[in-house]
């Protein structure tokens, strides 16, 4: 589904990402962990063609993402607040993204019902604009928008960050429920080892831009705890 080959990004002389080979299969739940500055967000940005790689390519379904537009139809993503349009209300934002995916009002209404629990009555039907929302609510809007259009791939950067404990659990349930409903490939980065191992069957650890560990299996958490112990 996604394959990365000899991908590097350097700022000045510092390599921020340097990955020789990485393939993510269709339907895989791929977790990305690593300390601050490991290059997780930069990697995701290159997957989404938001940063021009210094070298190498990212291919999605066999096609290079760089300079292409068609993959955007089946990749949903939320990395940070620059994905949101601050002067719209959440409803207007969903309607806009929905329009891009040919959603009718009824489609959108049905779609948003999946998120009712996560939204906790604070997002939809309000006049508050996205720019005025709290960090946690911003995250909820972005994650929901990433699922519009039944994407085959969903890329989320730190989805649990800034969410209250209840919302974290609800989000986890939602991600698992979506996964059960249809074949979906997750790429999720997180600092929360518990959450990420619960959702992802494969974990890659980045350090200084390089893949230092690529593990699959059931006992991921103990291995990660071992790796990250101070």
């Amino acid at each position: 589904m996604i394959s990365i080959s000899s991908l590097t990004k350097t700022y000045g002389r510092e390599p921020v990402v340097n990955i020789s080979n990485l393939t993510i299969r269709k339907g895989e739940s791929f977790g990305l962990v690593g300390n601050n500055g490991a290059g997780k967000t930069t990697l995701f940005r290159m997957l989404l063609d938001l940063i021009r790689p210094t070298q190498g390519t990212v291919t999605l379904n066999g096609k290079n993402v760089q300079g292409q537009d068609d993959w955007k139809k089946y990749v949903g993503s939320y990395l940070d607040e620059s994905f949101l349009i601050p002067y719209l209300t959440p409803d207007e934002y969903f309607k806009f993204v929905g329009m891009l995916h040919q959603y009718s009002d009824a489609d959108l209404h049905q779609f948003l019902q999946n998120f009712e629990e996560l939204f906790n009555d604070e997002i939809t039907g309000k006049q508050k604009r996205i720019g005025e929302l709290s960090k946690g609510n911003l995250k909820k809007v972005g994650i929901a928008a990433a699922f519009i259009g039944n994407p085959a791939v969903v890329i989320l950067d730190e989805p649990f960050e800034n969410l209250d404990p209840t919302s974290q659990i609800r989000l986890k349930r939602l991600l698992q429920r979506e996964k059960e409903r249809r074949a979906i490939t997750y790429l999720i980065s997180s600092h929360d080892l518990n959450h990420v191992t619960e959702i992802c069957g494969r974990i890659v650890i980045l350090e200084k831009g390089m893949v230092v560990k690529d593990i699959v299996g059931d006992d991921l958490l103990p291995q990660l705890e071992e790796y990250f112990k101070a």
Partner: protein, 523 residues
């Protein structure tokens, strides 16, 4: 030339044009466009700044309406003004001669007022909208700028009265050619600002171009007006030139298109964010001055590392050439020498005026930091004083070559500099303390009115009026040189009593710091 070659060339351009048009139309999905335009509208109406700076916007809007009103009026009376006012029998020829100057003026106007809101499309980049669509949207929407209607407003009335009387329906050709050139200027400025703005090359190209034109006219190398007349009369006789102009416009459009398409990455769309290595390090000279020098160093870094402040600095360099307009013209040097004092105040003090008006706003993001650091507020105030004075003195030194136009110019500049660093600097610092507004430098662009409050609107008055209070009594009495000396002396007095004046300014800051800090903390 062979008729067939001409035909083939024309057909080629028509085909190219049709292809391009088709390309554009294919990308114009109407529903999507509605949404994008609606979003753009919501953005401007709903922004926090819109409500907060409503008064400023209304004021600017009124000015814009006024300018347009005057332009239309000017357009209608242009012929009368030229034939009776300037005693020129052929008004069309006369205006044609001025057109290239007008385009130069329009270019400068565009350079300072036009900006691409290229970051506006950032939230759409990861969504399923094709990149080509977004670039077309960005480029075509950019035409909806007041400046793109200026040439029409200004010249349409003239074209349909005076020009039409002379050449009949060819007036259309005349007007259209002006509009096409104006539009191509629009796209040239877009790409110029994208690629060369804020670079030394771009700065030199601008100042060099302007200086060259002024000098060429002064020394009679060639006259732009003659070239202009020839060009536009040629167009009137050969309407086919329009096709060439259209092709030229499309060429620039697609040059822009390719340039933007290749650079559709947020890092590259953003105006040079952190892209510059910290080019200015601490100046060793200033470090010897202790804490005071450190504060000056900090502020120099602020100026060099932020686009908006950098353009204030560049503008000051640009204003050094301001004198070329006036000192080369006998109307000013001989008939109204008093006016030159005004020019000199600007040449030496433009940085002080432009930067100083927001003196405390520039650092509004870390004002709390400034207040909580060891060291006294007096030092902060003193550092700002020396920064403004230092750059004013540098402007004076750089303006010394104007002595070529006469020693009295040096005298005027000296008096103006003394007055600037003795009196005006304190006027500006104290006016800047009057309810300063927050400026977020990360949101930088020309035509950014963030930070503009009441003080900024009236600040120019005392600065420009004050020197004349001392100059006019002597000059009316017939001793203009004594007037200049008086202006210089008053400046010198301010310089001598700077410690006392600085203390007064510091006390005002002390008294107002809580209110200012609270104002800055508000979003």
């Amino acid at each position: 030339m062979n008729v067939n070659v001409v035909k083939a060339t024309i057909f080629f351009f028509i085909r190219l044009y049709l292809n391009c048009l088709q390309n554009v139309i294919l990308h114009l999905n109407i529903i999507k466009l509605n949404f994008l335009l609606l979003n753009g509208w919501k953005k401007s109406v709903r922004s926090v700044a819109f409500e907060k700076e409503l008064a400023t916007h209304i004021f600017l809007g009124l000015i814009a309406i006024m300018v347009f009103g005057y332009s239309i009026a000017l357009g209608f009376f242009l012929e009368k003004i030229i034939t009776t006012g300037f005693n020129q029998p052929d008004s069309v020829k006369f205006v044609s001669g001025l057109l290239l100057y007008y385009f130069w003026f329009e270019f400068m106007l565009r350079y300072f007022m036009q900006s691409t809101a290229s970051l506006e499309i950032q939230p759409y980049l990861h969504l399923p909208i094709s990149r080509k669509y977004l670039v077309h949207y960005l480029l075509i929407k950019s035409v909806l700028h007041l400046l793109n209607f200026l040439s029409l407003v200004l010249f349409a009335p003239f074209a349909f009265t005076a020009v039409a009387r002379q050449v009949g329906t060819s007036a259309w050709v005349w007007l259209l050619s002006i509009y096409l050139i104006s539009l191509s200027l629009h796209y040239i400025v877009l790409i110029f600002k994208k690629g060369l703005d804020d670079t030394v090359v771009g700065f030199l190209a601008l100042t060099g171009g302007m200086g060259l034109l002024a000098l060429a006219d002064y020394y009679n190398w060639f006259r732009l007006s003659d070239a202009s007349t020839v060009f536009f009369e040629f167009i009137l006789r050969n309407p086919l030139v329009l096709v060439g102009l259209l092709a030229w416009l499309l060429l620039i459009y697609f040059f822009n298109f390719n340039y933007f398409l290749r650079g559709m990455y947020p890092e590259e769309l953003a105006p040079h964010k952190n892209s510059k290595e910290s080019s200015i390090q601490n100046l060793a000279l200033l470090q010897n001055l202790g804490m005071l020098g450190e504060w000056v160093n900090l502020e120099l870094k602020l100026i060099m590392r932020n686009k908006r402040t950098r353009s204030v600095l560049f503008l000051s360099g640009f204003f050094l050439l301001y004198g070329l307009i006036f000192y080369t013209n006998k109307t000013y040097t001989q008939d109204m020498p008093g006016f030159l004092l005004f020019v000199a105040i600007f040449i030496t003090g433009i940085f002080m005026i432009n930067y100083g008006q927001f003196l405390f706003s520039w650092q509004s993001v870390h004002f709390d930091f400034t207040l909580t650091q060891p060291g006294s507020i007096a030092q902060v105030v003193a550092s700002k004083y020396w920064l403004l004075c230092g750059i004013t003195i540098i402007c004076f030194i750089l303006s010394i070559p104007y002595v070529y136009f006469g020693w009295h110019i040096l005298l005027i500049h000296g008096a103006a500099t003394l007055f600037n660093i003795g009196v005006n600097v304190f006027v500006i610092m104290n006016m800047a303390l009057w309810d300063p507004k927050k400026i977020d430098l990360s949101k930088s662009s020309m035509m950014n009115y963030q930070g503009v409050g009441a003080a900024q609107w009236v600040m120019g008055i005392p600065i420009l009026v004050a020197p004349y209070v001392f100059y006019l009594p002597f000059s009316i009495g017939g001793y203009p040189t004594w007037g200049l000396l008086a202006v210089g002396m008053v400046g010198l007095l301010g310089l001598i009593f700077r410690t006392q004046l600085l203390t007064l300014t510091t006390n005002r800051l002390q008294a107002r710091k809580y209110a200012i800090a609270a104002g800055f903390r508000k979003e």
